[in-house]
Amino acid sequence: MSLLEVHDVRMHYPASPDAWGRPRAWLRAVDGVSLSIAEGEVVGLVGESGCGKSTLGRVITGLERPTAGTVRFGGRDVAGRAGTPGLQLVFQDSLGSMDPRWTAAEIVSEPWRARGRRMARGELRRKVAGLLSDVGLEAAAMDRYPHEFSGGQRQRIGLARALADEPRLLVCDEVVSALDVSVQAQVVNLLMRLRRERGMAMLFISHDLAVVEHVSARMAVMYLGRIIEEGRAREVCARPLHPYTAALVSAVPEPGRARGGPALQGEPPSPLSPPPGCTFHLRCPIATTRCGAVSPSWREASPGRWVACHEAGPTDPGVQASPAGTR
């Protein structure tokens, strides 16, 4: 029994309404995703913009009620229930959503107020100071306002606020993407230390493959609303099975690493009208006619390595037209 169990989740939004306001199409932001995270485990979720990774983070933390599928946290159904104790989301500019007139202390202690926990002012300030020190800020920071902090410091306050809830699962959505590289390293190290000390599980969502590989034990790659590959982070990056993962890996510009093969052609298709068969086949360098017709099944290519591709790695024995991303 995992801490988090996401089963066949779909999140479809109505789009392009007709004259009567009825949707003529559905935007399939998340289209059949299953994912589990064990207690204390760090799972990375990587993909490009529009692949549905942030939507999945919002569904998991209850900010969006999925169109279909289940989300269970600690055995309880939490689909569509924001504010589940122990389940916290931190995103790119978490403080951007906070009242700019709140002090850091008010921001950090917000989860306690939301849960109706009352405490004496002295105790509250002592606890806030403890959390700020956990994220590497001085206690003096608690009386300052968001605009007085740098980007890296704001991200630390966002983290301290999430930690106030003592999360068992922290969903981090692009938490270091807006930071300069020297500051990014500080925040990544901080996250890793907090995870070790508190034993919390993390879902680390990012477009940055190298950062995801660095922080995660296991990772999942998303494309157009579906998970197309999953496995140990190290292995997925070193020996990608899915041609899309391979393209992602070779496209990452990294100093000291020779450029990979030719750049992937084209751009992801619209989630309003995903192509039939494998949603990647139009850009895929190894696609066959089958790929345009039959959706590849989600299969275990080797122990712990899952992929949704007809052609990748060991061949797929029994081909069924089952949707990718489901198990």
């Binding site: 490009e48 300069d180 992602l248 070779s250 510009p253 750049a263 751009e267």
Partner: protein, 327 residues
């Protein structure tokens, strides 16, 4: 090319912005040169002044906003901070084209993209520009179905296609220099790889020089001949792209290189630099990196380190380069 000298030359260039609090020094004694056909990458974190350098090449900041207080910038032999508006207009577009991070901001939202390319062609060659030439340019930058796309408006194009249009507009007048400020930062990694490939191709074909501004060392290394690292308004290291990042000398460059998570490398702590990049106006005395520097000596807080050249085309603003500990 007739001038003989470099295409772009910054010499002791010092720039101040006018602010409500008075003049604010943002660049301090910048020396840079770009030869015809050469690609220079200017890397740095936010607030380092890299974008201001790019904007100064054609003096995009008006007199009401910025003032050169020492040194200067020459573009194709013209001293741009002494040139009049007419001379500057001749330089902008015809001699140096600009591409920015947000392509949407550079495009006119109510004008068909083909007309914008045509306008750019006509700006510098009033008579002979034709629709056929526009379509050729759109095809040249890798836009599929260019006849169709030429009739579309910017909002109908994806970010990657918008950036290609912006590149076509910048290159249509056949400038000798392309100033590209974070041209791939807003793009997904697979699309970024496409645009970098395009820039490499165009450079080979057209033989233009490129000033590339980026925060991404991997991007810089993948396209540039030389790399200059900017910190707190000063160039702190410059060298060949092929060797500098594998053998960085300045402690700041070494820290930047070490802070990048890389695929396939050991997990564990990322090397991080304490603190953040100091903002203009709060630059420390002596070496500007000394408060964050792991190898700083007492003298670093007092003396401004001179530029030290220690190999052909490789130099740094640190008197204690790399030492025995070559990263």
């Amino acid at each position: 090319m007739s001038m003989g000298g470099p295409l772009v030359e910054f010499e002791g260039f010092t720039l101040e912005l006018r602010t409500e609090q008075g003049p604010l020094r943002v660049l301090d004694g910048v020396d840079l040169r770009i030869d015809e056909g050469e690609v220079l990458a200017l890397v740095g974190e936010s607030g380092s002044g890299k974008t201001l350098c790019a904007q100064s090449v054609t003096r995009l900041l008006g007199d009401d906003r910025a003032r050169c207080t020492r040194g200067g910038v020459r573009l194709a032999g013209v001293d741009v901070f002494k040139a009049d508006e007419r001379a500057l207009r001749r330089l902008r577009g015809a001699t140096a084209g600009h591409v920015f991070q947000e392509p949407a901001a550079a495009l006119n939202p109510v004008m068909r993209v083909g007309d914008q390319v045509l306008e750019s062609l006509r700006l510098h060659r009033p008579t002979e520009a034709t629709r056929a030439e526009v379509v050729r340019w759109l095809a040249r930058v890798g836009i599929p179905a260019p006849e169709h796309r030429a009739r579309q408006y910017p909002h109908e194009l994806s970010g990657g296609l918008q950036q290609r249009v912006a590149i076509a507009i910048a290159l249509a007048p056949r400038p000798r220099l392309l100033v590209a400020d974070e041209p791939t930062t807003a793009l997904d990694v697979t699309v970024q790889a496409q645009v970098l490939e395009l820039l490499r191709e165009l450079r080979r074909e057209v033989g233009m020089a490129i000033l590339l501004v980026t925060h991404n060392l991997g991007v810089a290394e993948s396209i540039a001949d030389r790399i200059a690292v900017l910190y707190a308004g000063q160039v702190v290291e410059e060298g060949s792209a092929a060797s500098m990042l594998s053998n960085p000398s300045h402690p700041y460059t070494r820290a930047l290189v070490a802070a990048i998570p890389r695929m396939g490398h050991a997990r564990g702590e990322l090397a991080s630099v304490p603190g953040g990049v100091p903002a203009p106006g709060s630059w420390p005395g002596g070496c500007r990196f000394h408060p964050r520097c792991p190898v700083a000596r007492p003298s670093c807080a007092m003396e401004t380190p001179p530029w030290t050249a220690f190999a052909a085309g490789h130099g740094s603003r640190c008197p204690y380069p790399a030492g025995g500990d070559r990263a």
